[in-house]
């Protein structure tokens, strides 16, 4: 399991949940961070998969 991808995914969820309770003028911060962390989680998972394949 790619621990980094899991960490980024959890961070993405936290940011998405927090954006709901963030004052409206700063809500975009949480949304942008949630998307960015989700993208990093996907990239990290793909990196993990490619490393595992090359190690075989």
């Amino acid at each position: 399991m790619d621990r980094r991808a899991v960490f980024f995914l959890c961070s993405s969820l936290i940011c998405a949940l927090l954006s709901v309770v963030t004052p409206s003028e700063l809500r975009w911060v949480g949304s942008v961070m949630a998307v960015a962390y989700a993208a990093l989680a996907a990239a990290s998972w793909l990196d993990h998969l490619s490393r595992r394949r090359s190690n075989r």
């Binding site: 621990r3 980094r4 960490f7 961070s11 936290i14 940011c15 927090l18 309770v21 963030t22 004052p23 700063l26 911060v29 949480g30 961070m33 960015a36 962390y37 990093l40």
Partner: protein, 335 residues
Amino acid sequence: MATVLLIAVVTIALIFDFVNGFHDAANSIATVVATRVLKPWQAVIWAAFWNFIAFAILPLKVANEVAKIIDSNVVSIGLVFAGLVGAIFWNVFTAVLGLPSSSSHALIGGMVGAGIAKSGGHVVNLDRVQKTAVFIVYSPLLGLLLAFVLIVMVMWLVHRSHKKRGVNKTFRSLQLVSAAAFSLGHGANDAQKTMGIIAALLVGAHKLDASVLKTADAMPLWIVLSCHSAIALGTMSGGWRIVRTMGNKLTRLQPMGGVCAESAAAATLFFASYKGIPVSTTHTITGAIVGVGSANRMSAVNWNVASRVVWAWVFTIPGAALVSMLSYWALAAVS
């Protein structure tokens, strides 16, 4: 008598600011000292200079926001004193437990607790507390995100570069800029919290006109200068402590990682200062360092320290608020 008490509480607030600088000096100069870019005494002066000059570069929005956390009509000498007692007690208590708590959040928690103890929850400006509370989580996560993206980009560029020999030298020089930027952000965000508390106290004691709280630019210059002087002097004093204790802890740092972590943390602090959001500089740089570490491998990150930071996030504001509530009631009972 009231004037003497007022001066005493302003002095305590400035001491709190000094201790903040003392505490956080390591964050600003650790990398430049470890990689021998600057001698310790030069690094200390470099960081203190940028701490001091921050008021001329970044807006005073954080001070204005902190001053308005509690309704200025109920702010009194006793309330601010109880708030500071709560913040100082919480800082000492968590230091003994080894929890990396934020003095900034302790100060805000202290003020909120004292305000509730004096007049009830309605005097607390919930929008501002909410903004601070969500950024307790956002600021380290933003520092982490920016640092991770930055280090990955830099590593990619270095990997593609044909001049690998000069890379270390380049990043050693860049550390001067990143350390200056971080010290600037630290000076701006942290000194302004004390500024806000002092301004609220003086408005509450009718020594300042309430109009100073209307805009960020109306803060009296003597408050601005005294708060920046206190934090800069604290940084200089704290830096000397590092001179004595630097050794194994610092020598593991690499120039490239240091530059990326400091730049990401500085960018986060600049953003928070422009938006008037009080954030913890320690938590921000911790997040950025975790970001740099996780770009290599997750086991490079000390997750024990990271989990302690999370506990500090959760408990600081309510903990400091509780202590200052008790302090206020004790003060009211004896006076």
